[in-house]
């Protein structure tokens, strides 16, 4: 894991150093940046030093969670990211929960009734779900559920008079605002995961110990709940852990569409303004969250399957 982190930081550094002009010279053309901020930048990047020294300095700084200063407003990149992170995490965790609790039952049931109308219907749904561009789904849901029917707000995360609400109404208001984004974010992965759990379930049902259990006349509910479900959950947990990068990439799109002040939209704004320190910081944090997802998936795997030792 440590070599991976070093590699990640090295590539992020490399990508940004390909940028035309140094970060400081970019800021020279930006009248919004004060002289003081420019000096801070000069000092931070130590641009008089050779490239490898610059890299090590930068690495030392990111270990302290210091990504430098934004070229747009001169604020600390780390604090800009930190204030945007909670919204993105909330939305993504909520969509992971929705994916988990709908995709698996859907997949299991269509596997159990393989070849039935329900199974064929979900198969078609899965292929369509895979192919649906999330930003199109977002636009359609905005158009119909938001504008036409007026059921959901289509931008922001709070109402105008949010400040005067009692706390429970604040929570409800927030949930109401993020419901469309969460639905859109979960839709794509929903299809993939239900397909996957269906295939795994069919594999398990074909195993000898399950067929033995059926042959000796155990009730099917007992076979499924006691013996067949656990081996299906294992690979599904891994897939959930691996879906982190996709969800983060998706955040850029739906946060931009729904004007949600999260990490994804921050990234989009950074790209639009060519704010390289911000982009670099978000790139590193995105990769770190991906690694964290893999790591949590590994942990869950070990917890669920005692045969796997961590030393592996």
């Amino acid at each position: 894991m440590v070599p991976l982190l070093i590699g990640i930081s090295f590539i992020s550094f490399l990508v940004i150093h390909l940028a035309p002009g140094s970060p400081v010279s970019v800021s020279l053309f930006n009248p919004k940046i004060s002289l003081e901020a420019r000096e801070k930048l000069n000092k931070l990047y130590g641009l008089d030093k050779p490239v490898h020294i610059q890299y090590f300095n930068w690495l030392k700084n990111i270990l302290k969670f210091d990504f430098g200063y934004s070229l747009v407003d001169g604020r600390k990149v780390s604090s800009k990211i930190l204030e945007r992170l909670p919204v993105t995490l909330t939305i993504n965790i909520l969509s992971l929960l929705i994916i988990f609790f709908t995709a698996i039952p859907l997949g299991l049931y269509s596997g159990w009734r393989k070849g039935s109308f329900f199974d064929r219907f979900t198969t078609i749904f899965v292929f369509i779900g895979f192919a649906t561009p999330s930003f199109w789904l977002a636009l359609l849901s905005m158009q119909f559920l938001g504008v036409k029917l007026g059921w959901f707000p289509i931008s922001g995360i709070t109402s105008i008079d949010f400040e005067y609400f009692p706390w429970y109404k604040k929570v409800l208001d927030f949930l109401w605002h993020i419901s469309l984004p969460v639905l859109v974010a979960s839709f794509g992965s929903l299809a993939g995961l239900s397909r996957y759990s269906r295939e795994k379930f069919l594999e398990v049902l074909d195993k000898e110990y399950i067929r033995t259990a059926f042959a000796k006349g155990l009730p099917s509910s007992q076979i499924i709940y006691k013996h067949a479900l656990k081996p299906v959950f294992l690979p599904v947990i891994t897939i959930l852990g691996l879906s982190v990068p996709g969800l983060l990439g998706g955040s850029v799109i739906f946060e931009t569409i729904f004007s949600i002040p999260g990490m994804g939209r921050l990234f989009y704004e950074g790209v639009m303004m060519r704010d390289y320190p911000l982009i670099m910081g978000l790139l590193v944090i995105g990769a770190f969250l991906t690694l964290l997802g893999n790591f949590l998936a590994d942990l869950a795997y070990i917890w669920a399957d005692p045969r796997i030792k961590y030393s592996k």
Partner: protein, 269 residues
């Protein structure tokens, strides 16, 4: 194999969809009545009808023409990007698989590192480095960020192939190493990459349309499905057809390549 795919119901429908979209792209100048970029404010925001098959946008441009020309963009980005990714993947994967040892370790660690980045983040960062994104640069960027799958597949295939007797025989015959790799190992290792490439075209099309939708891909007035949808945002709730049809085209095209890819996978099993 093609015969068997034609017998597979899902594969056949995938192939038909791909053929349909390809002919739409190829025949675009012949089947459209209007130029995709010719403005006509008097005919703005017309709903679908006999004159404008899929209606017009807020500048009076014919939506059908724009979608047909947009198909050219989407398909060429899909094919070229995947071509680049597969070539990089074949080169790195076969070198890693054949030589093993430290070369293999270095290449595969690099692949692992690249896989740690959320790919859309990486693509956006590279786009940010460009002064002005052009369609060719978009193709290259998508290719440069999606070679990891093919590289891993090729490496795994070559690892198992190089232990086979026929490769051993070639080595004993003192056939030069590059010839063994190019003529014997790579052609035999290609079939799993075919599945990956077909599915890759679908995802490259999705990525391109997302980028263009965010305004960071193909730039107007050149029509692409993504930037038509970007412009549709301003007429949300007024003109449903501008939102509906381009997205439907993306869905159908991606669906077609996915179905085809799945069918090839089934056949290779």
């Amino acid at each position: 194999m093609i015969k068997r795919i034609l017998k597979n119901k899902l594969g056949l429908s995938g192939l038909l969809i791909v053929l349909f979209i390809s002919s739409l792209a190829l025949l675009a100048p012949f089947i459209t009545k209007y130029e995709p970029i010719s403005l006509n404010i008097e005919e703005a925001l017309l709903p679908p009808g006999p004159e404008h098959l899929l209606g017009t946008d807020s500048l009076g441009r014919d939506l059908f023409s724009r979608i047909a020309y947009g198909a050219r963009i989407s398909l060429s980005v899909g094919f070229v990007a995947v071509g680049i990714a597969v070539v990089i993947g074949i080169i790195l994967g076969s070198i890693a698989g054949f030589f093993g040892g430290i070369i293999d370790a270095v290449i595969m660690r690099f692949t692992d590192i690249m896989l740690c980045f959320p790919s859309f983040f990486l693509i956006l960062s590279l786009v940010a480095l460009l002064a002005k994104p052009s369609i060719y640069l978009i193709m290259v960027i998508i290719g440069l960020t999606s070679w990891m799958g093919p590289a891993r597949l090729i490496r795994a295939e070559i690892l198992s192939l190089k232990e086979e007797n026929f490769i051993l025989a070639l080595k004993i015959l003192k056939i030069p190493t590059p010839a063994i790799i190019l003529k014997h190992l790579i052609p035999n290792a290609l079939s799993p990459v075919l599945v990956n490439a077909t599915l890759g075209i679908a995802s490259a099309i999705l990525v391109e349309s997302s980028l263009s939708f965010l305004g960071l891909g193909v730039q107007p007035p050149t029509p692409s499905w993504g930037n038509i949808l970007m412009e549709a945002k301003s007429t949300l709730g007024v003109a449903w057809w501008i939102t509906f049809f381009p997205g439907l085209c993306i869905l159908i095209t991606v669906l077609g390549f996915n179905l085809l890819g799945e069918a090839i996978r089934e056949e290779l099993k």
